[in-house]
Symmetry: D3
Subunit: 248 residues, 6 copies
């Protein structure tokens, strides 16, 4: 059940049977020579939509902008400052709390979002903690990174081995192509991109990773792989969701 395609009376009815929601969050950033700029949003969105359909879970709108400052030396990348993303997530959680949602799972497609997401959760918690507010009824935000799920990792290892890499990975390229119904071709030079740290500014990042890839060879990606990653991702996310619901 997608929030964007529902009416408010339908959401009111949903809240009678569940107070949980899944919100896909991604980024708009370069993904190497053959990866889509929307990769990090397209992947968790597709997994979330399938998850929502199969298990009657409400899926919020995809948050397409993330923390991607290190990719800004590549055309097309858009980035929020961490402080902006924290404010955006705070307002989203405040809005959901208003309606009685108590479980909010952010289904994340971008490693660079993780620190800011956690800082945002802490910012929201801090408001309650400093005010000695009772915990009852407050939404408990949680994070699941689809690309770190067990089944997804196993499938990537099986299909690409070491060529999976860390950014513009073969797996995410495959999944986003499948979902978007597109395919891009590009020569990878070197075949496997260099390794290194992404915790730097945009100029440094581009110097370290000249075509935007980190440790990957996404020329191995195939759209048909995408279908398998989608299945693996939905199974991983469903497991995460059940863990969240069972907690306490």
């Amino acid at each position: 059940m997608r929030l964007q395609l529902s009416t408010w009376p339908e959401v009111e009815a949903y809240l009678e049977r569940s107070t949980g929601i899944v919100v896909p969050i991604g980024s708009t950033e370069q993904h190497g020579p053959n990866g889509l700029i929307g990769t990090d949003a397209l992947c968790p969105e597709a997994i979330a939509w399938a998850l929502g359909e199969r298990h009657d879970i409400l899926i919020g709108p995809t948050l397409s902008l993330g923390m991607a400052q290190h990719h800004l030396a590549f055309p097309g990348t858009l980035s929020l400052r961490p402080s902006t993303l924290i404010a955006l997530l705070r307002d989203t959680l405040d809005s959901l709390a208003r309606h009685g949602f108590t479980r909010v799972l952010f289904l994340n497609g971008h490693g660079g979002n993780i620190a800011t997401l956690k800082a945002a959760f802490a910012e929201v918690h801090a408001t309650r903690s400093l005010a000695a507010a009772p915990a009852t009824g407050a939404p408990q935000p949680a994070l699941f990174n689809w690309f770190l799920g067990r089944r997804v990792r196993e499938l990537a290892a099986e299909l690409y081995g070491d060529a999976e890499g860390y950014h513009a990975t073969a797996s995410e390229v495959a999944l986003s192509w499948y979902v978007a119904g597109v395919e891009k071709s590009a020569t990878m030079t070197p075949r496997i991109a260099p390794l290194g740290s992404a915790e730097c500014d945009a100029e440094t990042f581009r110097r370290r990773f000249p075509d935007g890839r980190m440790g990957s060879d996404p020329s191995l990606a195939r759209r048909e792989h995408g279908a398998r990653f989608l299945e693996a991702g939905v199974a991983d996310a469903w497991e995460a969701w059940q863990g969240l619901i069972d907690e306490e």
Copy 2:
């Protein structure tokens, strides 16, 4: 050409032939008994995508969250505070400036965003103006509200007359249904919703507009009308785009 479905080398090539971009912006908010919560994002997104395809214009990711505080008494509404939306738009414009975009048209689907969008543009301009920075090269943001376009207004008047209304309008319900491939039915009581001001808090809004509609009878909406609104909207947006490009 959609940014989300492009690679960075494709964006680099686009920037050789144009430094303009269109960014759809909407809201996630109640739209009455039969309107979709995503209406305000779905409509400008569909118009933008068609515009981009027909005229080779780059279309950015849809910004799905807007300023919708007055709708928060209806389940499912998510709202950014104006200050958060200003920060988000500032970061988006800063990112686009980084790549050399000089024309940014926000294709807006939500009346409640207008004041904040203009304040955000002024916030970005103020940084330059206070620093006495030269205007050359800075992105000039502009705003086009699809629901105020001439052709769209004429079509709505022709199809619905006074029952078009001001929120959860028949026209936007028709266009979003068409785009999303859904249709919802609900009885409208009263047939035409009350009129009044939306510049108030959420409780007051719900007291004034009990089912969320403002002055409209969206039971008149038909999916096939949506196809016509799409055409009208694309023509209106194309006119706005050309005006923007011609300016100076």
Copy 3:
């Protein structure tokens, strides 16, 4: 009754008979070759003071700084960033709420303030809306732009026709001269200033409007016109105030 000239026991007594207040808001910005930099504050201040005297309405201090970033390429202009003006208005409304004021009419003299004023109202509303706070007792801010009042517009059309213009208009120049007891002379070249959009940065604005006027010929202004604009403005504002008080 002017707040600045009252004691707190007098305000306490006023609150027994009314919980409404009018706050003039303007800007400190260039107004062309013969217009005063304080025009936008002087005009609504004079109207508010007369309104307050005739109808026993409390008039708050004039907020002289507004959002005027586009005028910063002309010496003497002072501008608040929109985010600053939002904070200022929030604190003002919070202060008024503390004392039990429930109706706050901002009598505005500057078109460039409108978007930020509306964003500020929404920022204040959002705090309540996100917290699901009851609407009772909260101040309802409202906006009235004296230069858009019916009687004022009719008088300007009668006196100046198309030469009234959009910034450094003949009507505001006349009213401010009358109120301040001054008069300035300057040659207008061209007689009627160019038209265009003011939604840009300061350098662009000055390039578009070399002497600061937009579409006007303020050499037509006469101090004696000012007296008539004052009367028209007070009548328009009184109508707006009554509408506000009647609302709900």
Copy 4:
């Protein structure tokens, strides 16, 4: 020369002969049983206007809102948060820097503003200091508190002795009455108000100072005293201004 009553070409001409400006800043807050709520703005404004006329100094618009949180338990008081006032002063200084002003003297009428004014100056300096920006050309803000001037203090001691007090003082009540052309009467019980610290919240302040006065007996104030305080204040301010101009 008052900025509000000047045209931009006049300011441009002024900048040829001087790059200094005086900005009156006050507060909108209770001043005891017979003191005006606008006292803290009216006093420095009157001194600044006279100073400007006699010595050809440009006088900016009066900033009427200050940091008055401790007075909020008395009806009519409006207060900015310190963080808001810092932003307002930063934008004002940034605007003045834009035009080439290098000396900005804030002529202050409210003790409660002092800490925040100094913090604001430091906030503006910090931007330059952290960026290792050259000091040349940046505006040097300075502060002069008219109520602490030597001549003013001597006159207050002569006229009122210990009954001058610390808030709602006899001297400021006299000056503001003179300037505003009003006079209020009220019985003072006790004759001299209690002493104590004002660095507390509003409820505590009102408990300590039940009618709003601190250590004063403003029933001693006379309008004719006001004329003498104005002269003393202008002489003190002129001395402060000359010191500022001579510095370095």
Copy 5:
């Protein structure tokens, strides 16, 4: 009793017998040719620790960073912006309020912190004052500047006379050397540093005070003096603490 060396059950027990706490606050900034960069933190920390031991007062962690923007042209200086320091102090006070502390004395070692500390207290008070929150139970922050204590000032006058100065003073150099067990030697040229205002940016400050000292000759400092300043400082602080506890 030092908070850093206590367990939470020990703090819980302390709160049974007292709800007061002392928090040392300093700065990390140049202190001339022979003064330590940590001087402003080391001095109040040592006084606070001794105070806490002798009188069973809980001593919080030393806040080592202060508002030192004017010293940034000297290597090693670290400065918080005033707005950052305000946020830090607000969070500290909010945390202490959470546990039931009602008296918080900041034992300050840096003149440049005073304005920002007072602004921060007002920021915290304003939240309560604007909300009309009852004063009961809220922490009352207070400030004591050890270098302005009566006994300390007398001792400095006795030992150094006019060579004590205003920054990198002989007294603070002596106390910090004693506390840190170090001693530095440097030639002072001129023997007594120039006088002037420190309310300026970093470049201006260094131009005015080339080696960082203001009006002092810290070559007179001796470690054995430090022991006497410590005693004087503890006695002064104890007096301040008792005044705070007695208040109301």
Copy 6:
């Protein structure tokens, strides 16, 4: 070499031979029945001081306040909001950049700081990345968590096995006792504390972890272990520092 105990000419000399600095960062938060509230600051501080002495590295002041909102239901805990900590770290990095430092290693003692530290680094990078500023000369912040070092982890496993735990661990209790020269005794019930997630608000945390420990039995801690952890920590940190210096 400790910054706090150095003079500015000594820092100037240091910068001739190195542009790196280590800044210890901790937290002020409960550490179970026998752990010190200052544990997270004391441990990295001691390691940093030893590291600095042995290898001539400049050590900045210890940042004692961290992100500890989840511990606020235990008396004595102080927490910064993530947004405040981000501002504090930004100002610290801006200050260091001013002096020419290019390598800043935060030696961290608190797991709860990690996300906010990374968000803060990204906030600083984003300023450069959005401005397309050249990377040359900007400080590269890096993070080393002493409790995750290889040697430290091995020693903890050897000494405590599974009883080491995740908060109020035996290893950090031992090291802080050793460093502070104290020892506390308390009965642990149950002997090994429960496991679970700390990403929640304060009330929830205390419900999950009633005495503040997470998975640990710190009654196993011994001061003499602390000496060994110090050695292990210094060796781990030295390795991290060398990796940082070698990078690029």
